[in-house]
């Protein structure tokens, strides 16, 4: 089994707010992230796929195809966008780094054909990242 990781970046804005909670509770749990005017990050995404090396092509996955999927499902959908307002997954889910990683996994998993998705690693900042392995 060989693991291959492809990286891409996107910049987006978001805020954290649970409409079931009082304003005070939102501020207590989410701190500065609860500001409804939003704020932004430069996200770095590392997608790791695994599979066997095709004896003819020598590829685990066609990198061009993987890049196209990442561009379409992640960059086009999230880059320079407001996650709460423009990405349907976050109409009802808070766009924390955890939930963005899960949403990216769900978007990619159904598009990948040959290789299997192993890990989605999403950096919100250089000192904070989330790994999602598709675990229930």
């Amino acid at each position: 089994m060989i693991y291959l990781t492809r990286k891409c970046e996107f910049s987006a804005s978001h805020y954290y707010h649970n409409s079931q909670w009082s304003e005070e509770e939102n501020r207590r749990v989410f701190g500065k992230c609860a500001n409804l005017n939003g704020h932004g990050h430069n996200y770095t995404l590392e997608v790791t796929v695994k599979g066997r090396v095709d004896p003819t092509t020598g590829f685990v996955v066609d990198l061009k195809q993987l890049k196209d999927i990442l561009n379409r499902e992640v960059v086009d959908a999230m880059d320079h966008r407001h996650l709460n307002k423009e990405v349907p997954e976050f109409a009802a889910r808070i766009p924390t780094t955890e939930n963005i990683a899960i949403a990216i996994w769900q978007r990619l998993e159904q598009r990948l054909q040959v290789a299997k998705l192993h890990r989605v690693r999403l950096y919100e900042m250089p000192d904070l990242y989330v790994d999602f392995y598709g675990e229930a």
Binding site: I94, E98, N99, L128, Y133
Partner: protein, 140 residues
């Protein structure tokens, strides 16, 4: 849905690698420059990985404030700008980064309960790093 969250911290400390059970010559052979009697220092980077279900209320594995507070109180305040050899944790333990990783993991395991402590990773320099998951195989 279970996710893993990793947070990175930096601290600076000095140490000298010297095993009391070895002769001076054996120490020099084993540890090389790290055996310099006056010690030397590093900027260590610590990555703490915790895991747990993503809360449907908050969208989080755990509140970052709680990890930051535990790491600051239990690790950074204990080790930052210290000589590791003089601390009680290393009274009978050579402060290699392997041992430091085990010590830091065990301290956090005892003091941080807001999520499952999965593993820690310490970079001694940009060229070397150490991972410890409490005896389990670190997850990649």
């Amino acid at each position: 849905m279970r996710a893993h969250l990793t947070r990175r911290y930096v601290f600076a400390a000095s140490h000298r690698l010297h095993a009391p059970t070895l002769s001076e010559e054996q120490n020099r052979d084993t540890y090389g420059k790290c055996n310099n009697p006056y010690g030397h220092g590093h900027n260590y980077a610590l990555e703490v990985t915790v895991s747990g279900p993503v809360s449907s209320d908050s969208g989080m594995v755990c509140n970052l404030v709680e990890i930051d507070e535990a790491v600051r109180r239990e690790v950074l305040e204990r080790f930052d700008h210290q000589n590791l050899n003089t601390l009680r944790e290393f009274a009978n333990l050579v402060p290699t980064t392997e041992n430091l990783a085990e010590v830091v993991y065990n301290i956090l395991k005892q003091s941080f309960h807001a999520a499952h402590l999965e593993q820690i990773r310490i970079e001694e320099t940009l060229m070397n790093s150490f991972e410890y998951a409490g005896g389990n195989e670190p997850r990649r």
